[in-house]
């Protein structure tokens, strides 16, 4: 039986100030500000800690933001947190990374990372193997309750490229994009983290005790214009390159002594264009399912993250005065054409 449906909300677009657009600290400040907005994109009120509104905090090193972390309005027994992190200079210690990602600190400066943690309590340090002390469920305190960091963007930001932060949140997950200018065809660095996988099962072999699976997915590079048709792009774990798309989940502890971070990929590969509507022009939304990249058993369904026709990121589809959902796409150019629309996800409202 499926988990209760999530309701994605869209935050206001954050315009990255020129003064802070060339460092990851500036990007992290923007993420913090975005997730502390008092309104949503449509000016409706956003009250931190209620409905879908996450609570986010930040941590400084000297005067530079190095980590932005938060927790959802409703905490389950798994006590999850999502953390964004990065530093202008190389950290002294290599943080825990997701499988197949960076192995030296020298490559880390100005890279934006994202991770998800379960059993999360008090924040320690983003370079600690356990980013948080144990939370509401103190049974597991090892580093294995943290996914490790996955690269949202794998190069340093510049004031001429990264222009906007798009962000969405729902009761149990968050999503962001760093939108770049048309000089890169309007691409976007992308990341989603939280309880985004529904195993469609209550078995403790398939799900955590709260019925969910916790995951982080990032693009590394700007997501390919056809990432839904690829097997090594966004929403598919790339085992070859340390800096590209990563997609992992924390497997339920019943499978192993402690939770294990395992790579994922989509079960489906889809060629979808902007013409993929019904004959009468209706917009389809189809489920995305994921499998373990190695074993390769079925893992679950992405929760209210569906594939839809190719369009652009940052749009909201409405029916009368009701939001149907929000578009999370590979392209976010301000001009709309065949070459500036790409694979797109539909975050259901």
């Amino acid at each position: 039986m499926s988990l209760s449906a999530l309701n994605w909300k869209r935050l206001p677009i954050y315009v990255i100030p020129t003064a802070s657009g060339s460092t990851v600290a500036g990007i992290l400040s923007g993420i913090f500000d975005t997730f502390n907005s008092t309104t949503y994109y449509d000016a409706s009120p956003r009250v931190t800690g209620s409905n879908s509104a996450w609570s986010f905090f930040r941590s400084f090193n000297a005067s530079a933001v190095e980590a932005v972390y938060g927790y959802p309005p409703t905490i389950t027994s798994m006590s999850q947190s999502v953390i964004f992190a990065g530093s202008v200079t190389a950290p002294l210690i290599l943080p825990k990374m997701v499988p197949n990602s960076y192995i030296t600190t020298s490559a880390l400066p100005n890279i934006l990372f994202m991770g998800v943690s379960t059993n999360s309590g008090i924040y320690l340090n983003w370079t600690s193997q356990s980013v948080f002390l144990s939370g509401s469920n103190s049974a597991v305190t090892s580093s294995s309750s943290f996914s490790g960091f996955a690269p949202v963007s794998n190069i340093a930001p510049t004031v001429t490229n990264e222009k906007f932060i798009f962000a969405w949140e729902c009761q149990e997950a968050v999503a962001i994009q760093l939108a770049v200018t048309t000089s890169r065809l309007g691409g976007a660095y992308s990341g989603i983290a939280g309880a985004i996988i529904d195993p469609e099962s209550t078995s403790l072999l398939d799900a955590n005790s709260d019925g969910r699976l916790y995951s982080v997915v990032t693009s590394g590079n700007t997501a390919s214009i056809s990432f839904l048709a690829q097997t090594n792009d966004f929403l598919n774990h790339d085992t070859v390159s340390t800096s590209t798309a990563k997609f992992v989940y924390l497997s339920p502890t019943e499978n192993f002594i402690t939770a294990s971070v395992r790579p994922l990929s989509l079960i489906e590969s889809r060629v979808i264009t902007y013409q993929t509507t019904s004959s009468s022009g209706k917009i389809p939304r189809v489920n995305n399912y994921v499998k373990d990249l190695i074993r390769p058993n079925f893992v679950g369904r992405l929760r209210e993250i569906k594939s839809t026709f190719a369009y652009q990121s940052g749009w909201t589809l409405r029916s009368a005065s009701i939001d149907l959902g929000h578009l999370f796409g590979a392209r976010c150019s301000q001009s709309l054409s065949v070459s500036t629309s790409g694979s797109t996800l539909f975050l259901v409202s």
Binding site: D206, T273, S279, S280, K282, F309
Partner: protein, 347 residues
């Protein structure tokens, strides 16, 4: 909004007599026999015309008085007719008809001793004309099948696109709006080789839309025919040119639907490709099924296959059960080895 769920039923496997294994009329006789059985594979009663039990008839190309020639056509209609009044027609003949060839579906051509299937809208089952006629039946329940509104149907698509040879077993399934068959070769020792042909016909596409002008027929359905043509690849769900995808090669797989309110045949492909294996279960081992969606050549979304869902690699002809209830039935690439397969759901 989705249509009412179809409930598939499995007919008893039919063993083709040795003398008929390489003769299309033998296979057609087998299909006729299957769809006239009085019980399902689980022994439950099957009453033609009730539940989901289709009514099927057969005829030959050359009937002379009371003397019936070799079976050339097996046609039937569902237990409950919608306003579209569909019929499904299986056909084939040992030699090419001399006067005219039957209407073939897009990219298909007639081959002697091959096995074909078609679906026709507005078909009056009691007024069968000829399988070689543009319109195989006179008009059906709506009475509209003449002049510019004539409906010739999907055209024949090849279940077996070459002269049939060595077909040992036929499986058949039926539901309220569709029928499906699989023909398995007798090469039972080749356990890792694709062995099966298949075909599905009827109202098996749900456009998931209430628009009855562009998206669906007036009854909310779309009528289609899907065939393999050649033996189904062991990994056909990862291919764009195999079963459940339209292939432009004449004898290969076909997937065509009839555009609502017209006589146009539109070719289709699955919206997604999937790499599925025997291991594609949950950690716990639960069976997982994935809906299948189809699009046209312009990537336009057409609909969802009705209660035809992708599953882990399985053996064609198997029944999936929980406790004493059938969950569904497997139709796939082989009846001798676990390979790509779809489940016809029974619940």
């Amino acid at each position: 909004m989705a249509l009412v769920r179809n409930t598939w039923k499995f007919l008893p496997p039919y063993t083709v007599p040795i003398v008929s294994q390489s003769r299309v009329e033998g296979l057609l006789d087998g299909i006729f026999f299957l769809f006239n059985t009085s019980s399902y594979a689980d022994g439950s009663a099957r009453v033609t015309g009730s539940g989901v039990a289709w009514s099927f008839y057969k005829t030959s190309s050359v009937d002379s008085g009371s003397v019936l020639g070799p079976t050339a056509v097996v046609y039937g209609y569902p237990a409950t007719m919608s306003v579209i009044s569909q019929s499904v027609i299986f056909a084939g003949s040992a030699s090419a008809p001399t006067i005219t060839l039957p209407s073939m579906t897009t990219n298909a051509s007639f081959v002697a001793n091959a096995l074909y299937v078609a679906v026709q809208k507005q078909a009056n089952w009691s007024q069968y004309k000829s399988w070689l006629s543009g319109s195989i039946f006179n008009s059906g329940s709506s009475g509209v099948n003449t002049g510019s509104l004539a409906r010739t149907g999907s055209g024949f698509a090849p279940i077996i696109g070459a002269s049939v040879s060595g077909i040992g077993i036929i499986n058949a399934w039926e539901c309220g709006d569709s029928v499906a068959i699989a023909c398995h070769t007798t090469s039972s020792t080749a356990t890792a080789t694709a062995l099966s042909f298949a075909g599905i016909a009827g109202g098996f596409i749900d456009p998931e839309s209430t628009d009855t002008t562009f998206d669906s027929e007036p009854d909310g359905r779309l009528y289609a025919v899907a065939t393999s043509g050649v033996v189904i690849s062991l990994t056909f769900l990862g291919s764009t040119t195999d079963f459940l995808n339209h292939n432009a090669t004449a004898a290969s797989s076909k997937l065509v639907f009839i555009q609502p309110g017209t006589d146009n045949k539109i070719t289709l492909n699955l919206l997604e490709t999937r790499t599925l294996t025997y291991l594609t279960t949950s950690n716990r081992g639960s069976l997982i099924s994935f809906p299948l969606y189809v699009k046209d050549i312009n990537n336009r979304f057409i609909g969802r296959l009705r209660e035809i869902e992708a599953i882990r690699n399985s053996v064609s002809g198997y029944v999936l059960r929980t406790s004493s209830s059938d969950l569904g039935y497997v139709i796939g690439a082989s009846n001798a080895a676990a390979a790509n397969a779809v489940m016809l759901t029974a619940i």
